[in-house]
């Protein structure tokens, strides 16, 4: 008994030390928000196209029944990181054959049109979410966010923040490959 009590401070130190060690892990992001959508069906939504843009609008039914999983990217012209991400997504669409849909989040239509005209439009369909309500349905915490949606409408993957930089692109590529969102032969 005495021994056990004498050992208590040591045991406490080991336990706390373990926690500190865990906290020091540079890969751990305390700001990361766990997503409830993963492996869940994508939320129901039906968005009109952005006025002034020829790209059609986006609804949940557009995500279902596709041959391969598709990517839904939430973006806005006022979002600076989106601009950097735009180039990455465009490359995925043009070189790897990724299918990309967009949700234009709380954006003025004329700004969105100008933004897409300046940078190019890699999106097959773009829904205009002026109220931000569809964003809430997706559990959005900010823009940009990117989702991979399976052919049956299940959300497979969520990326919070811009897919920019080697690590992010690597993670995203892995997710795309795992989901089978890239056509065979591409992406090697």
């Amino acid at each position: 008994m005495k021994r056990l009590i004498a050992g208590l401070p040591f045991i406490a130190a080991v336990i706390f030390g373990g926690f500190f060690l865990w906290g020091l892990n540079p890969d751990r992001d305390p700001n990361e928000i766990p997503s409830v959508l993963i492996s869940q069906p994508a939320p129901a939504f039906d968005l009109d196209p952005v006025p002034g843009l020829e790209t059609p609008g986006l609804a949940r039914s557009d995500l279902v029944g596709n041959e391969r999983p598709v990517v839904v990217n939430v973006f806005a012209s006022w979002c600076v990181p989106c601009r950097a991400e735009h180039a990455v997504l465009t490359r995925f669409v043009e070189r790897e054959g990724m299918r990309l849909f967009g949700i234009n989040y709380k954006d003025k239509p004329e700004d969105a049109v100008k933004w897409l005209n300046d940078l190019g439009n890699p999106y097959e369909r773009i829904g205009s979410d002026l109220s931000g309500r569809t964003g809430i349905e997706w559990g959005l915490s900010g823009v940009p966010e990117t989702f991979i949606v399976d052919g049956d409408g299940t959300v497979l993957f969520r990326y919070v923040g811009p897919v920019v930089g080697p690590d992010a692109v690597e993670r995203f590529t892995q997710a795309l490959k795992q989901a089978g969102a890239l056509p065979n032969g591409a992406g090697s």
Binding site: I5, I33, S35, V36, G132, G135, I136, G139, G142
Partner: protein, 157 residues
């Protein structure tokens, strides 16, 4: 001095500012009060350690509006919270729900206090018992009675 007090009061003004803007508020004061209470239990997903009631973030405003919208439709408080929880997960609840995954969170403090009381109490008790059972020995016994006698004599005089 008066100027100082004035400056202090002016300095306090910004803290009185409320994130809930007038155009968000419901006309029904009872519903509005319920909305405020619900908002205080929901975490803002942008600023993370702030509730949506006091957050100026855009998403927080949207969630406040959503809470009010659900209330107007006739949802109960629990239903409103469940609606938002279904979209954002347990993470948005500032008060974590009591379920198997959170038992450690809820009961660990109580368990630690109980362990502390038992270990500490047990330690003290065992020490006290030892002292109670220890015999003083005849020499010490004599010394003590000698002192006691002297004290009594001193009190009497």
């Amino acid at each position: 001095m008066r100027q100082l007090i004035f400056a202090f009061c002016i300095g306090l003004l910004p803290f009185a500012a409320n994130a809930v803007e007038p155009d968000e508020m419901l006309t029904d004061p009872v519903l509005e009060q319920r909305a405020r209470e619900i908002s205080k239990d929901l975490r803002c997903v942008v600023c993370q350690n702030q509730d949506i009631d006091s957050s100026n973030a855009g998403v927080a405003r949207d969630l406040r509006l959503l809470v009010r919208e659900r209330l107007v439709v006739g949802d109960s408080d629990a239903e409103v919270i469940e609606y938002i929880r279904a979209r954002y997960g347990d993470y948005v609840l500032l008060k974590p729900p009591l379920e198997p995954a959170t038992y450690a969170l809820w009961f660990a403090p109580i368990a630690f206090v109980l362990i502390g009381v038992f270990v500490g109490g047990g330690l003290l008790m065992s020490r006290r018992k030892q002292e109670a059972f220890e015999d003083l020995g005849s020499e010490d016994e004599n010394t003590v009675s000698e002192i006691l006698r002297q004290n009594e004599a001193g009190d009497a005089s």
